[in-house]
Symmetry: C2
Subunit: 363 residues, 2 copies
């Protein structure tokens, strides 16, 4: 949200419009090239340690009525975003879709929200800026932090200095839509523990795990929002903190870990900005289900399908994941993180997490 | 969370166990009577202005193996809850379910989460205390407040005084699981605006609506959690603030309004504690869709069914709702609150809300 980033993002958008202008001026049909965004065009960048788009590209060209209309919409959107950045305002993707109804040219209006969402993603990819740089807000932000961290948030109403234990209620510090408005001031943290469910997050806070182990407890709230993934990455990169991800023990939760550590196919152009490749998976592991004799539910058909699809996903083709997933397919069971309560409400903080995090080298 | 409430709730639970004991001692088969919890046993209490259970009751008696087992589980649960209150600890419903696996008697263990959830609701009804009084936490709390309100929250780590504009980031103040740990200290608020979607909540905060109109913006996050409904009610009752509910314009959103204003069938025993009968519905109204020519989506079959079922629900049998719902069935369209952006990003705060809230007598 700094003026520098704003004017940079604005310039990148204007450059894009200028490129269309130059194509026109040279007598060329205007076009814009974007990476093909499919599973088959995702590859591992060993240097950056994240999954990024491969070399295959698709061209959005004005050589058809449909294509010309797409570029027209892009131009109107660029105009809107440039003005939004000029005025230091912001909007949601959904507002952009509805706002297009007020544009003077009917042909420039979006016919569905998917269309405007896709366009903004295209603009992210082509400009190299992020949606947040354009001041586009998500519909829901949501997650919270509790732990020994003092930060400064730049809000529209001035700066706020907040300590994420001393200055917040039991609900914790609410991560804003764009966490790049945050500066980390001071911390006593040893690591980040990203937790899937609210029930477990509350258990850890009630048991004082953040205080006893100098942990920053980040609540993922299921599949984490971009803001949550971004701040987790920044905590790792800027404060040099290890990141451990603690979820339920089922294929959907392994995907939650994957979206923190590997990034997603849909936003592979942002992996460098959102993913924390060094993030480690705490559990619940299928091995825990066996070792701790946890209460379980049987795997459903869709669980089995999801596990099998993970076995075929290059991101999960490691010794650890193959072993765990095959064990799970074998025992045909899954467990929730709160099932650790079958050994008492303190088992997770007195035994499970300290042992596992020590084993992982986090403690 | 005060010691008084804790020991009161504990006593009410022990009384219940004592009642079983006395029944045994008198040679009677132990039993417990609870109101029948169905749509047909809901009636309007004109004095309290909320919907409550009627006179029909169901008996949980130990006169069958199944019934005896139910009461056994109740006793074990009472024992656990009494100990939890003694130690000033808390747990989630899910933890209770898993924890039962550690109980010494296999017959006392719950066979499903529904069973333990239902039992806790029975205990609420019979004891007259709330789940929060037992220190049972929900899985997710979630919602936030932004506005001119200073409060003090009693946390496990001591008291926190927080101003819900000056001491919070753009995400606002996170409502804790049990908002009865909050004291309202000071406020400049004229009313409460409860808002369904995150996108609209962020729009109002960005446009400074809470500052310009002294509004407490409560984010409902879809169907509101108990904590959100409870704090809304307390803001109304204790600070004498009118409550306006602002949602999308579809039958599911009218139910969100209903759960704030009327309470729900499932928790009719808590209507007095959770419902704000004086809450008014701002919109989006079907009439708005017509008057402001808002962008719409067609009604789906399930939308139509939900509207028709609302017409038959005694809680919606008012002139206002019948007119609006029939209009919507007639135009066969619905609109989201963010569709107001089709008239520009400031229309909602410059025109729509000021006009509507004035008309409603809130401003």
């Amino acid at each position: 949200m700094s003026v520098d980033t704003d004017s940079e993002a604005r310039e990148q958008l204007i450059d894009l419009a200028a490129q269309f202008y130059d194509q026109f001026a040279d007598g060329d049909v205007p076009s814009m090239e974007v990476p093909t965004r499919t599973k088959s065009n995702i590859e591992y960048d060993a240097e950056k340690k994240v999954w990024v788009y491969g070399d295959r590209t698709s061209t959005r060209s004005a050589n058809s009525v449909r294509g010309a209309q797409k570029l027209l919409k892009a131009i109107y959107t660029i105009d809107f975003l440039a003005q939004q950045l000029d005025e230091d305002r912001s909007s949601t993707l959904r507002e952009l879709y509805y706002l297009s109804e007020s544009w003077d040219l009917d042909e420039a209006q979006f016919s569905s929200q998917d269309e405007s969402n896709d366009l903004v993603e295209d603009l992210e990819i082509v400009s190299g800026a992020t949606r947040e740089d354009f001041h586009m807000r998500p519909e829901e932000s949501g997650a919270t932090i509790m732990g020994p961290l003092k930060l400064r948030e730049q809000t529209r109403r001035g700066e706020r200095e907040i300590h994420c234990q001393e200055d917040v209620g039991e609900g914790g510090y609410q991560i804003p839509n764009n966490p790049d408005t945050i500066d980390f001031l001071d911390n006593d943290a040893d690591f980040v523990l990203a937790v899937e469910t609210g029930g477990m997050r509350d258990r850890l806070v009630e048991n004082g795990f953040d205080e006893d182990y100098n942990a920053l407890i980040v609540h993922l709230k299921g599949q984490p929002a971009r803001a949550t993934r971004r701040i987790t990455k920044r905590l790792h990169d800027e404060l040099d903190l290890p990141v451990a991800v603690f979820t339920d023990g089922d294929p959907w939760s392994y995907r939650i870990y994957g979206s923190v550590a590997y990034g997603s196919i849909k936003s592979a152009h942002l992996s460098e900005y959102l993913a924390t490749p060094a993030a480690q998976f705490v559990g619940i592991r299928p091995q825990d289900i066996v070792e701790y004799d946890l209460p379980t539910d049987p795997l459903s058909d869709s669980d089995v399908n999801a596990l099998e699809s993970e076995l075929e996903d290059p991101r999960y083709q490691t010794e650890f994941w193959e072993e765990q997933i095959e064990l799970q397919l074998d025992i045909e069971k899954k467990s929730e993180q709160q099932s650790l309560a079958s050994r008492g409400l303190d088992f997770v903080t007195d035994t499970y997490l300290p042992e596992r995090l020590t084993e992982m080298g986090v403690l």
